[in-house]
């Protein structure tokens, strides 16, 4: 894996907000094709800020984010061609159907020659009910919206995927289905960065799991290492402890 170039890379990345809060503190991160990286941490630990930095929603104070080797700050439009994003609450255009929303965001992502059958195929793949394809999104449950959100990421077919607490608020079945889709995307060689509070699912899906605290990546474990360690205990220990100097 290390012989490959990382799709998502944070190089000494820091973000200090105008109010003085250091949200991300010298973060170094490499996520490779076919890898799922789960970022754990309490609220305010810096997980979402990290994702926002990768999407160039905010500029870094120091350091650089790379997507597919492209500096996100220097060439954001080019970098965004290679990354998809699914947020905690996928809120789409309520007056439009699932297919119309998918069509709109596919076109924004550069996929302009898709047929109706292509959209249907993607929505089937994420297990969205057939009858929902041509229904207005405003009547969708959160689970359905999340599925549609991931179908937007799927149809863009970008090598990197950023997921900001995507399973938050989903019922267990929906969350499980969501992870199955991620597993498939991983097999396709996507590099996935997922921020989450869900320790169990992070352990289940993540090839690597990192814990963030006060902007710092205080711990990182591989899937293999976690076979012999209790992630829950590690997480709680880190949350209780003083910030580590690493």
């Amino acid at each position: 894996m290390t012989n490959q170039q990382p799709i998502l890379k944070a190089d000494d990345l820091s973000k200090r907000y105008e109010d003085g809060v250091l949200a991300v503190d010298h973060l170094n991160l490499n996520i490779y094709p076919g890898e799922v990286y789960c970022l754990l941490g309490a609220n305010g630990a810096g997980k979402t800020t990290t994702i926002n930095l990768f999407l160039n929603f905010i500029p870094p104070t120091t350091g650089t984010c790379y997507v597919n080797g492209i500096d996100v700050t220097k060439d954001p439009l080019e970098a965004k061609k290679y990354v998809s994003f699914v947020s905690e609450n996928v809120m789409l255009y309520g007056n439009f159907t699932a297919r119309q929303n998918l069509d709109f965001f596919a076109k924004l992502g550069g996929k302009t020659n898709l047929a109706k059958s292509d959209y249907y195929q993607v929505m089937r793949r994420v297990s969205l009910q057939e009858k929902a394809f041509e229904q207005r999104v405003k009547n969708f449950s959160k689970g359905m919206r999340q599925k549609l959100g991931i179908s937007i990421a799927v149809i863009k077919d970008a090598p990197g995927i950023l997921l900001d607490e995507p399973t938050s608020g989903l019922d267990p079945k929906a969350a499980e289905e969501f992870l199955e889709i991620l597993e498939e995307l991983k097999k396709e060689g996507k590099a996935i960065l997922m921020s989450t509070h869900d320790i169990f699912r992070a352990k289940e899906i993540g090839d690597r799991v990192g814990i963030m605290k006060e902007g710092r990546l205080v711990m990182e474990r591989t899937r293999e290492e976690l076979q012999y360690e209790d992630l829950v205990k590690i997480y709680i220990d880190y949350m209780k402890s003083e910030p580590l100097k690493i």
């Binding site: 999407l55 439009l77 809120m91």
Partner: protein, 476 residues
């Protein structure tokens, strides 16, 4: 990319309940205004026909027997009814509707129009300050529809352009894609403009069809040209309010705040600002007498002359020839002084209206009203032009009478000895007739240019600000 965004946005805007309600309301108002205008216009046409026939009879009597004192009746120079009043009524309903013209000794007196129940009007001297009264809140014309209703709709369509996307969570999703920030603003702007174009163009079509079907208003190419210019000006004006909506959306965090700010802007720029300079009319500086009072000042001028020449006249009372020489010398002077009083106050009233307009020019709503009235050739611009035409006609008429009476070098119309008039019949066709000429399109556009330029500046400023602000907008 902007094409996809625009298509989606236009569909969403057009299908929104707010738009549909406003759309139906606007079309209803256009229909109602068309009916009001047609009813009013019918009355004006009948009235104009009556006055024109009366003027014609007066001139025929004059041509047959120029020296007959009965023929020296007044003419009433009245404004020709114009369909353009439906585009912009502006000051048309407040400015004098014509002048009394005394045929054989220059006198031009303001008239105002009053109507009886049958719709046939008559003309009386202005008895109030209505000419410079504060502008009415409501005028049943197309300008009002755009100025108030469509500008309101513009703010409603644009206020949540950015905040709405942010609240819906779609802003992050859009910008996780390679979409330029400027594209979103440009798309929102174009979408709102296209959506506004629908009720605007439909309003114009409905208005045109209504006027055409009525067969009361002859729709010449000139009117359609004016309508087209009106549409262009309307887009320029509505663009200001779309940009104000976008501005509010980029400087606030929530749609609710954006809506409140947008409506406050609208209220201030469309309602408060254009109407408040009218309050200045209560200041002493803007105080002018009523038409009735002006006429009493005119009479006082005559009395002053009588007082001045009283002793001289008394001394000559036994010498009829010398007395008549005095009368012929002083008479024109009196007429000139009397007319001077009238002209002075009318000039002052026009100057006051223009001063108030300058103050109002802060408001895009006022700029739009002035631009549309200039392009349509209505309002104070029209009145001033009409007054000039009336004066030119008056001077020309008296010069004509002098020429046919043997005075080859007529000078001031006031220096006129009525006894020198010919006693032979005059060819009716040779007598000058008054018919108001329309202001040339070039002149109208020239008059509108400063207002158009200021509206364009408004747009440019807001455009720059909105793009600058959204370039730095926190899309999280």
């Amino acid at each position: 990319m902007i094409k996809y965004m625009l298509k989606r946005q236009v569909v969403e805007d057009i299908l929104s309940l707010t738009f549909l309600i406003n759309f139906v309301l606007i079309l209803g108002v256009v229909l109602a205004f068309s009916l009001i205008f047609l009813s009013d216009y019918r009355g004006q046409l009948a009235d104009y026909a009556v006055k024109s026939a009366k003027n014609e009879r007066t001139l025929r009597h004059f041509s047959e027997d120029p020296r007959n004192a009965n023929a020296y009746a007044n003419m009433q120079l009245v404004m020709k009814p114009r369909a353009e009043r439906f585009i912009s009524l502006s000051y048309e309903d407040r400015s004098p509707q014509g002048f009394y013209f005394r045929m054989l000794s220059y006198e031009l007196r303001v008239l105002s129009r009053k109507e009886d129940v049958s719709g046939i009007g008559w003309y009386i001297p202005v008895t109030t300050r209505e000419f410079i009264s504060p502008p009415a809140f409501f005028s049943p014309d197309l300008t009002f529809i755009v100025q108030f209703l469509l500008s309101f709709l513009a703010v409603i369509l644009a206020f949540n352009a950015v905040t709405g996307e942010k609240e819906a969570g779609t802003l992050r999703l859009i910008y996780s894609n390679p979409a330029k920030r400027s594209h979103l603003v440009a798309m929102k702007y174009l979408s709102a403009m296209l959506t506004l174009g629908l009720p605007l163009l439909l309003s114009l079509i409905i208005a045109t069809v209504m006027l055409e079907v009525s067969s009361i208003v002859p729709l010449a190419s000139g009117f359609l040209y004016n309508l087209m210019m009106f549409a262009l000006l309307s887009f320029l004006y509505l663009s200001v309010f779309v940009l104000i909506g976008l501005f509010c959306s980029t400087v606030t965090r929530t749609s609710r705040h954006s809506l409140v700010l947008g409506l406050l802007f609208w209220l201030f720029l469309v309602v408060i600002l254009p109407k408040s300079p009218g309050l200045l009319l209560n200041l002493k500086r803007f105080d002018v007498p009523t038409g009735e009072r002006i006429e009493s000042l005119v009479e006082k001028t005559s009395q002053d002359f009588q007082e001045k020449y009283k002793k001289e006249a008394m001394a000559l009372r036994d010498n009829e020839e010398a007395f008549m020489r005095l009368v012929n010398r002083v008479g024109p002077e009196v007429d000139q002084a009397r007319q001077g009083v009238r002209d002075q106050y009318l000039t002052r009233k026009i100057a006051i209206v223009k001063t108030l307009r300058k103050i109002n020019m802060i408001s895009p709503a006022s700029l739009y009203e002035y631009a549309t009235s200039s392009v349509a050739g209505t309002g104070i611009f029209h009145f001033e032009n009409f007054w000039n035409q009336a004066r030119q006609f008056g001077n020309g008429f008296i010069s004509f009478v002098k020429q046919i009476s043997g005075d080859k070098e007529p000078s001031s119309p006031f220096q006129f000895d009525i006894r020198s008039i010919t006693n032979k019949p005059i060819d009716y066709n040779a007598i000058p007739k008054f018919e108001e000429k329309e202001i040339r399109p070039g002149e109208r556009i020239k008059e509108a240019l400063p207002y158009v330029a200021l509206l364009a500046l408004y747009n440019l400023f807001l455009f720059t600000f909105v793009f600058y602000k959204f370039g730095r907008y926190d899309v999280r």
